[in-house]
Amino acid sequence: MADFEIKDLRASVEGREILKGVSLAISRGEVHAVMGPNGSGKSTLSHTLMGHPGYTVDGGSVIFKGQNVLELEPDERARLGMFLAFQYPVVVPGISMANFLRTAMNSKRGYDGKDKSKQVTPKEFRGLLKGELEVLHMDDSFLPRYINDGFSGGEKKRAEILQMAMLKPEIAILDETDSGLDIDSIKFVAEAVNRMRGPELGILIITHYTRILEFIKPDFVHVLVDGKFVLSGGPEVAERLEKTGYAEWGKEETAQPEEVA
């Protein structure tokens, strides 16, 4: 039995069926990539796994640590050990990144305002932060800024990975983390992710393009088309897509990005 098991997941958006029975088993220590053309259901998969209220689960289960996470609130899923790096991180005015991060870490540790021993100390916070900032080639000037407010595309994505590093999930879903990034940013992000790789972490990379997989080598690659997996295999699947795109499933889209100028 894998650590994180998606079984026959079906989901819809505004009455439109998007995921039509997706099954996937991820164990800690593994890196899975889900690839697919536009409209195949990639973002529905990530949002449904994390419990976005705009997505309706029509059937199936997602078992993690003995629980069906589909029955849990998004924050419960996160505290259980899941993490989603958003494709479009939202701007939240008025709340500083620092406050946000600390509150999230305290929540994860079960600190409810009473048991001070569970609280993240300023020293610990700074220590954790410092190491991760270096890897991501960031500085701490973003801390007093409001959540994602005024961040460039690259800054937003790096800030997502920073949050992942701080929150130490066991299952991390990276939703199109490479989109909109230049090659250097992709490298920094990949480096940070690779540093976190290990027997305690399972990773699900959701991507349209193969490029990020050059830097974060997947153990398994699954191809999602029209809400279903049409092909699963090892890294060779990504290589095949790199050459032929999604043509064999009737989609005229390549799996290589246009060069970012």
Binding site: M50, P53, V90, I95, F100, T103, S107, Y111
Partner: protein, 469 residues
């Protein structure tokens, strides 16, 4: 900006502020309002005759003026069922130790002496009708700063007092300014001499303890040329089943190049009617800032205003209102541009929850000849559930040339996207909502000294838990 430490959950208003101590009074006037009561108050205070006459004249004005027909519903106030004057201690103390034990215990519990030790330059504590404690740092006294209660000021600084009292807000300004002038007692009197900058805030704490009490403090602040002062007021009361009335008048004169900041954290219990007139006159290149937070009370009607009297004057109102169940916060601000080249901004943030109602009510008036003025108003309202209500009533009258005026307002609920994002990081729903609300009022919080910012966020959390009242 203020970062907010994790706060303790579970304490509520009742425990922290809503307690009361048994009533023991040196003097308690009879219920109700008549010339005899007014004479009695004046006699107790051994006031000069001009003040007694002014009080009696104001009582008549109060009798004649109709109740306002706009804003909140005030018809439930029974003016005859209120105690207009209560004296709890027969002298004013300069140390907390000298206070009657139960009064001292009250302020200890509210944390006022501790705050004084940590971060205040002067403190005034009013209990019912009279100021019972007063202090000011020696250094400021030497610089000529006067910070005393208003009754003492009438006695000790009669000329300064008479020169300014009632000049910014005359008794006939409105029904409640007339009432206040008739029965006023306590409040703060501040004079900051030319060029003196009081860098550390002065604070007054207003406490109502008795049932059916009416508190009518009167505050007068004079900032002489080039000076600066930051004055903070806080207020709480026990929770009774019958109502109390708080009707203050605050007059401020900000002279050339001076700056005054007046911060209020209003946290009356939800049986208090809070009907306050606050107005400042700002002269050449002077700045007046009202930072006005309204969380408590059953009904608040309060519109801090600035009269921009000479070129270069600047007025600023930053207002936050939180209305929970049974509360109506009718708040806002007024900017009266009398002189050309004056600027003003009003920023209002309001939150309604559990059937509460917030109304922004504002007035921008630009008089003929007050050319080249700029004024900007921004109102944002957050509605936390579908029982609550928010209104926006901005009134603008521009009679001058080359004026730039802007008004923006939004009303929304807590964004599902923001909530989901926070929850996806493991933050429980209630706490995520509180964070978003605190983020919403952050432009206000960041203007407060850190300790008050923390306190405000804590109060918001209490309100969000719905445990108040």
């Amino acid at each position: 900006m203020a970062t907010v430490p994790k706060v303790e959950v579970g304490t509520d208003y009742k425990e922290k502020y809503g307690f009361f101590v048994p009533e023991e009074y040196v003097f308690k006037a009879k219920r109700g309002l008549n010339p005899e009561i007014v004479k009695e108050i004046s006699w107790m205070k051994q006031e000069p005759e001009w003040m007694l006459n002014m009080r009696l004249r104001s009582l008549e004005i109060f009798r004649k003026k109709p109740m306002p027909t706009w804003g909140a519903d005030l018809s439930v106030i029974d003016f005859e069922n209120i105690f207009y004057y209560l004296k709890a201690s027969d002298k004013q103390s300069k140390s907390w130790e000298e206070l009657p034990p139960d009064i001292k215990a009250t302020y200890d519990r509210l944390g006022v002496p501790e705050a004084e030790r940590k971060f205040l330059a002067g403190v005034s504590a009013q209990y019912e009708s009279e100021v019972v404690y007063h202090s000011l740092q020696e250094k400021l006294t030497q610089q000529g700063v006067i910070f005393t209660d208003t009754d003492s000021a009438l006695r000790d600084h009669p000329e300064l007092f008479k020169q300014y009292f009632g000049t910014v807000i005359p008794p006939a300004d409105n029904k409640f300014s007339a009432l206040n002038t008739a029965v006023w007692s306590g409040g703060s009197f501040i004079y900051v001499p030319k060029g003196v900058k009081v860098e550390i805030p002065l604070q007054a704490y207003f406490r109502i303890n008795a049932e059916n009490m009416g508190q009518f403090e009167r505050t007068l602040i004079i900032c002489d040329e080039g000076s600066f002062v930051h004055y903070i007021e806080g207020c709480t009361a026990p929770i009774y089943t019958t109502d109390s009335l708080h009707s203050a008048v605050v007059e401020i004169i900000v002279k050339k190049n001076a700056r005054c900041r007046y911060t209020t954290i209003q946290n009356w219990s939800t049986n208090v009617f809070n009907l306050v007139t606050k107005r400042a006159m700002a002269y050449a290149d002077a700045t007046m800032e009202w930072v006005d937070g309204n969380l408590g009370s059953q009904i608040t009607m309060k519109y801090p205003s600035v009269y921009l009297m000479e070129p270069g004057a600047k007025g600023d109102v930053l207002s936050v209102a939180f209305a929970g169940k049974g509360q109506h916060q009718d708040a806002g601000g007024k900017m009266i541009h009398v002189a050309p080249n004056t600027t003003s901004t009003i920023t209002s943030k309001s939150i309604s929850k559990g059937g509460g109602r917030t109304s922004y009510r504002g007035h921008i008036k630009i008089y003929p000849g007050a050319n080249n003025c700029k004024s900007f108003v921004k109102c944002d309202a957050l509605l936390l559930d579908d029982e609550s209500r928010s209104d926006t009533y901005p009134y603008n009258d521009v009679d001058a040339e080359n004026v730039t005026l802007g008004h923006e307002a939004t009303v929304s609920k807590v964004s599902d996207e923001q909530l989901f994002y926070l929850m996806s990081r493991g933050i429980p729903r209630a706490e995520a909502e509180t964070m978003i609300v605190n983020g919403f009022i952050e432009p206000f919080t960041k203007e407060l000294p850190l300790e008050y910012a923390v306190e405000l966020n804590r109060l918001i959390q209490l309100e969000m838990e719905g445990s108040v009242g």
